[in-house]
Amino acid sequence: MSRRNLLAAALIAPLLLLVTLSFLVPLGATLYRAVDDSEFSTTLPRTTALLRAWDGKDLPPDEAFAAIVEELRNAQQNQEAGAVLSRLNFEETGLRSLLLQAARASARLAPPVKDGLIALNPRWGEPELWRMFKRATGPWTSLYLLRSLDMRPTDKGIVHAGAEDAVFLPLFWRTFEISLIVTVICALLAYPVAYTLSILPQGWANAGMMLVLIPFWTSILVRTTAWFIILQREGPINALLLAFDIVNQPLTMIFTRFAVYLAMVHVLLPFAILPLYGVMKGIKPDYMRAAASLGAPGWRRFLRIYLPLTMPGVAAGSLMVFMLSVGFYITPALVGGSGDQMVSYFIAFFTNTSVNWGMAAALATLLMAMTALLVIVARLIVPGFRSGNVKV
């Protein structure tokens, strides 16, 4: 290595180390939870060994019945059974009580344990239950990722949830729909603003630009808070509408989809205006003059020359807005209703409230995949696009 590269490496190393240790490794470890299936094998090692050796036909050997009951009871006594119980109960609701019942009865079960267990609950005699346990011995599972797509692995292959039970595909669709609508509105609003600012005399343009930059520098939370206050039932908008007799009673605006669109467009509009303004400033008026001198009417000059020239700005801004929208959390959580939440909300929910880290990780993986797909598509259709080049 040359001295120059040695110096370069020494300069880059500290940051690379920081990003690796406090971002890449945690991110990798978190996403790995989406496929990790170690609860069963950690808590019930002997049962795991027996089930892995079992061919999956009929019922497992009698030792497996004895082992699972004994290991469950020990784990329960040492308060270590929680994780495996949650894992199995997530795959099939009701398994927690089935297993706890067996653990409690373990002292009373006379050998052979197998007959005792089946007498306790006939489910223990079903090979399908044991095959589910065999699948749960890990080390990996597709359970969480499939569930995030409204599917479930079963004995006989992957089963799709019915339209009524579908939760996550509609959630991804809603996230996509909200992001797309916000992006289109932002692009439509940004275009006239950026254009006007680009043709105004510099002094006026600078003043107008301040009106874009002040919201841009104001934090998302503060701006969402402003909408939260404004859209209240007793808030300023309703007060105004009532005062002018436009409505008889206050409108419900907060906790609606309308509020989500309004606040998200407000938060993201500057991201659409700024790159577009940059592109428009760079277009030489000569082009338009040339077109005019060749006799093209105004609308045609716009459609054939100005619009194509400004498309990179529209694309860069829209992409930025869409990418940020897809990951939105705070704004919908504060001003939206329960039916207006996006993927991020459920990632937070599974992390904090329902404490199902496999699901949180699976949804996070899919959200990342969605974002990555977007960047790849953008690179293909927007020439010269590079993520992160559209900030002031």
Partner: protein, 281 residues
């Protein structure tokens, strides 16, 4: 951004232009109105956030500046913000200079990896931090928050400094070396003054990123470590008191201050003929 307004063929004030100006004015109004409305609300003398306000007073600002929760949140925000700024600026500037100097393949990939935190959805970063920081005993600590914010804001420093290095003339380094300056001295005396606007903008962005950051704070800060956004969020969830409006106004004023500072740096750099800063690489 320099240059005069292009005079398009039809420069006269047609109906179309008037409509365009009106639409633009309305959209700009939409952008600033919500921010402006918070000001009178925060000055209300009443308990409710209604307009018109029953009267004006500074009681909610008094409440903000006497509440231990808001004061400790303010203190935490500044501690985390300044520490993040120092760390991110230091590491980001050095790495940018390293990438600029190095002659090795895969630079684009390296840059993509280092700026990954910028394109990753923040919620994903937040849960990754939440799981791992608690594993190494940094959960619920300001140190953990500073680390997380540094990772989030360092790409901005990296990209701004790289952008201003693009215009840096490598011959200056050779000249410095031929005059006997070692690399450290050359960096401090030759490179740093020239890229200072880029570094300053990056530092400002790093501070602002940390100061405004809520999602990571939501996951790893417990009540003792609440930052201003976190405290505000808690307030919105509990009881909507006008103190929140007062806090919002203070944060808006602070943002305007940061924006003014950024414009000042940009103007000065332009006046000096250095590159206009900003990650518009």
């Amino acid at each position: 951004m320099a240059g005069t307004a292009p005079s398009s063929p039809a420069r006269k004030l047609s109906a179309g232009r008037l409509a365009l100006a009106l639409v633009t004015a309305l959209i700009l109004l939409f952008l600033v109105a919500p921010i402006v409305v918070v000001f009178p609300l925060s000055l209300s003398s009443g308990e409710l956030l209604v307009l018109p306000t029953p009267g004006y007073s500074l009681r909610w600002y008094e409440d903000f500046f006497t509440s231990s929760r808001w004061l400790s949140a303010t203190w935490n925000s500044f501690v985390v913000g300044i520490a993040t700024m120092i760390l991110a600026t230091l590491l980001g500037t050095l790495a940018a200079f390293g990438i600029f100097l190095g002659r090795f393949p895969g630079k684009a990939l390296l840059l993509a990896i280092l700026s990954l935190p910028m394109v990753t959805p923040v919620i994903v970063t937040a849960i990754a931090m939440y799981f791992s920081l608690s594993l190494v005993g940094l959960g619920s600590t300001l140190t953990g928050l500073i680390l997380a914010h540094t990772v989030l804001s360092v790409p901005f420093v990296l990209l701004t400094v790289l952008a201003s290095l693009q215009t840096f003339d490598q011959n200056l380094l050779r000249a410095a070396a031929s005059l006997g300056a070692n690399p450290a001295i050359a960096f401090r005396r030759v490179v740093l003054p020239l890229i200072a606007p880029g570094v300053a903008t990056g530092a400002l962005f790093a501070f602002a990123t940390s100061f405004d950051e809520l999602i990571v704070a939501l996951f790893i800060a417990s009540p003792g470590q609440f930052t201003l956004p976190r405290q505000m969020y808690a307030g919105l969830r509990e009881f909507l008191s006008p103190t929140i409006a007062a806090a919002a106004v203070l944060l808006i004023l602070f943002s305007v201050l940061l924006l003014a500072l950024n414009e000042f740096i940009r103007k000065r750099a332009q006046a000096r003929g250095a590159s206009p800063s900003g990650p518009t690489a």
